[in-house]
């Protein structure tokens, strides 16, 4: 069975941007800290507007933050 996986570089980008805290990023993009935490852990897929707001907060294109990977069973076995 194929599974969707949305990987992100938020944690890395936060540290590259002056060790920004999760709370600071949350305030910047207008969400709660728990949402940033869930997105970073890959447990919550943000909406498109929120993904764009996060990209804008780091001044980078969307693709450099979020990567979508489609994994199949054969990929998992390897």
């Amino acid at each position: 069975m194929a599974t969707n996986e949305l990987k992100n570089q938020i944690r890395k980008l936060r540290f590259e941007n002056g060790e920004m805290t999760q709370q600071q990023l949350a305030d910047k993009v207008g969400v709660t800290r728990q949402t940033i935490l869930a997105i970073e852990a890959g447990k919550y897929a943000p909406s498109l507007p929120l993904a764009f707001r996060i990209a804008r907060a780091f001044a980078v294109p969307l693709e450099s933050i979020f990567q979508y990977e489609l994994q199949t069973d054969s990929d998992n076995k390897q």
């Binding site: 305030d27 969400v31 709660t32 728990q34 949402t35 869930a38 852990a41 919550y44």
Partner: protein
């Protein structure tokens, strides 16, 4: 903890106290022991205290610029409403069938039990609502 979590936590504590309160009322009626007669009042007072404390608990923010709720909170709340709605239907079904099974077709039940049963139903629905919210945050959904 964000506002939705705090709200759910407050609702959970108040619901548990009110549930115990409503369950101790029949006990106070059935047994004429003075301690049991005070018990409902104790839990009612405790639930009022919890309501008061939850207001103070709500005021504290994680940061000055923190938003009250976001898109994820909205999804979590929607799932919790669905869970509590399903629970309500299950409770209505049980509330109709259990007294019928206990008292039989021509059985008699005190009318005063009806508001207590409805109150307990309402409290259980609120408890399920708050627990569903807390569980979703716990799982990091």
């Amino acid at each position: 903890m964000n506002k939705t979590q705090k709200g759910a936590m407050a609702v959970m504590v108040i619901s548990i106290l009110l549930l115990v309160f409503s369950m101790t009322i029949p006990l106070a009626w059935l047994y004429k022991v003075p301690v049991l007669r005070i018990l409902p009042l104790v839990f009612l007072v405790l639930s009022y205290i919890a309501m008061g404390l939850s207001i103070i608990f709500f005021r504290k923010k994680q940061s000055p610029g923190e938003v009250d709720f976001d898109e994820r909170d909205r999804i979590i709340k929607r799932k919790a409403i669905l869970a509590s709605y399903i629970t309500l239907w299950i409770l209505v079904f049980l509330g109709c069938t259990i007294p019928f099974m206990i008292t039989d077709q021509c059985g008699i039940m005190p009318v005063s039990l009806l508001p207590i049963v409805l109150f307990i139903m309402f409290i259980i629905v609120m408890l399920v609502y708050s627990l569903t919210i807390l569980m979703q945050y716990g799982r990091g959904e």
